[in-house]
């Protein structure tokens, strides 16, 4: 029987981690993640989990300790935000290149400077090419569910890649929502026992991790890693199908909302999708065919499936809670544009950047965007392809 509770996003994810009961956790506090690992270390202190906590002096060290512990043979977790993820950057590539299935909730927060502790997606976007799988979560329930599924995806024998679970800082991490918890036993049966492929602590089979790979072999390892990424979407769907059996909640590579017969659409990640769905309902009530696509598996990006789901639209806006300084458009826009490129008939695509540093995304922002899309769909005229919204001009 599912247990219904009112908890914050951080609390929900910490509880998922307790239910999984990992072997090792090496984490460093950073707002807005701190409260999640604080709760988890409480579970350790209270003997609710058998996890060994490693105290470290930075996120560079926490991810390094995770790499070591995972190679040693443990099921390993950490969590971070913002500057912490940026500081881990070097080791993120080592975790993925070494194919270590570490699981890490990332409570999304803006990057400094200027210093800001509130939610945006700049941190995880900076790690989007690091070889980690990224699952994005609209609310606390999705963050909880994604965390549990992340272990199965990361540890799948065909995959063996680390996974980030992204949830919006403060908006989700610190807001109380209604959550359905699975039973501890259900979660433990779902994730199963973890077996490292080449555990360093298996002294009967000595192995070396982290060798120097010169030009005669480096590309072979990179090609092998790239190929693994192509297998991820299928595994994500298989795991989601199994998860539905125990939870009744359905997950895909992305979520579509009233998109099938839509003429205009919005692509948006995480918590802002909820607000947008409400506004879409209002527009639908007025007879306007609006829809939404919310990416869930953002890395590796399922560009074929995404393009198929969006190609029929007349006008489409990608709303991004991060910019990609100096590039053509914002991160998600570039992926959506690539997914639509192969089609002759495709929507006119515009880009809005919103909500940086915790700036509120309000229903009226979605209204402005949808009204602009109606105009573009009718006239074909675009006044601006890329624009910041909710900013003082």
């Amino acid at each position: 029987m599912a247990k219904i509770v009112a908890v914050t996003g951080n609390e929900a994810v910490a509880n998922a981690l307790r239910q999984v009961n990992p072997d090792v956790c090496a984490a460093y506090p950073i707002t807005p993640q701190t409260d999640m690992m604080q709760r988890f270390s409480g579970f350790v202190s209270d003997g609710k989990v058998k996890t060994e906590i490693i105290l470290v002096e930075s996120e560079h060290s926490s991810m390094s300790a995770c790499v070591g512990a995972s190679a040693a043979g443990g099921r390993v977790i950490t969590a971070t935000s913002s500057q912490g993820l940026a500081l881990m950057n070097e080791i993120l590539y080592i975790a993925s290149g070494t194919r270590l299935p570490i699981v890490m909730p990332v409570v999304n927060r803006a990057l400094s400077a200027p210093l800001n502790i509130h939610g945006d997606h700049s941190d995880a976007m900076g790690a989007r090419d690091s070889g980690w799988i990224q699952l994005w979560s609209e609310n606390a329930q999705e963050a909880y569910d994604n965390t549990i599924q992340a272990f199965r995806i990361a540890e799948h024998m065909d995959i063996r890649l680390p996974v980030m679970i992204c949830l919006d800082g403060f908006i989700i991490s610190h807001s109380i929502e209604r959550i359905e918890y699975l039973e501890d036993e259900q979660v433990q049966n779902f994730v199963g026992e973890f077996k490292q492929l080449y555990p360093l602590l298996d002294l009967a089979h000595p192995v070396s991790y982290g060798p120097l790979i010169l030009p005669d072999y480096y590309m072979e390892f990179r090609k092998a890693q790239a190929e693994v990424n192509t297998k991820v979407p299928e595994v994500v769907l298989d795991v989601a199908a199994d998860f539905e059996k125990i939870s009744g909640r359905k997950y895909g590579l992305f979520e579509t909302y009233r998109l099938e017969d839509a003429e205009i659409g919005i692509v948006i990640l995480n918590s802002a999708a909820g607000t947008t769905k409400d506004v879409i309902d209002e527009f639908r009530n007025k007879g306007i065919k609006a829809g939404l696509l919310k990416p869930r598996l953002y890395r590796p990006f399922p560009y074929v499936e995404t393009g198929e789901a969006l190609k029929h639209l007349k006008a489409l806006c990608v709303l991004d809670r991060a910019d990609s300084f100096g590039s053509s458009f914002s991160p998600v826009y570039m992926d959506i544009a690539s997914s639509l490129y192969p089609y002759n008939d495709k929507p006119i695509l515009i880009n809005k950047i919103y909500g940086l540093g915790g700036r509120d995304y309000l229903p009226e922002h979605a209204e402005i965007v949808l009204n602009e899309l109606i105009d573009i769909a009718e006239t074909g005229n675009v006044k601006s392809y890329k624009e910041y919204i909710g900013v003082r001009e």
């Binding site: 070494t98 270590l100 080449y198 192995v207 070396s208 060798p211 390892f221």
Partner: protein, 97 residues
């Protein structure tokens, strides 16, 4: 040795064969090579202690010739060598001369 293709390499570049670095001959990296001058050698074994590549073999407490299959020519041995009465027992000479 036939090189493996991308389907044959181990996930995460983990090496499952212990001691395989022995097969990795690094002698070809050398641009200058150490030469041992036995009459100036006091057998202090500093060269053996300092060599980062285990390219000096010791037998019965005494060093012999360099192992040029692994010596990268870093020159640490020549630097550390105290020699005898101011004359070095290890000198570096340019490769190919």
């Amino acid at each position: 040795m036939k090189l493996k293709n991308w389907k044959e390499v181990n996930p995460g570049s983990v090496i499952t064969e212990p001691g395989s670095s022995e097969k990795f001959k690094t002698g070809s990296w050398r641009s200058s090579k150490p030469v041992w001058i036995e009459e100036n050698c006091i057998q202090c074994l500093f060269c053996w202690i300092y060599c980062p590549d285990n390219a000096i073999k010791v037998k019965d407490g005494k060093r012999g010739e360099f192992d040029y299959e692994y010596c990268k020519g870093c020159g640490i041995c020549a630097l550390e060598c105290p020699g005898k009465k101011g004359n070095k027992a290890i000198i570096m000479v340019e490769e190919g001369k």
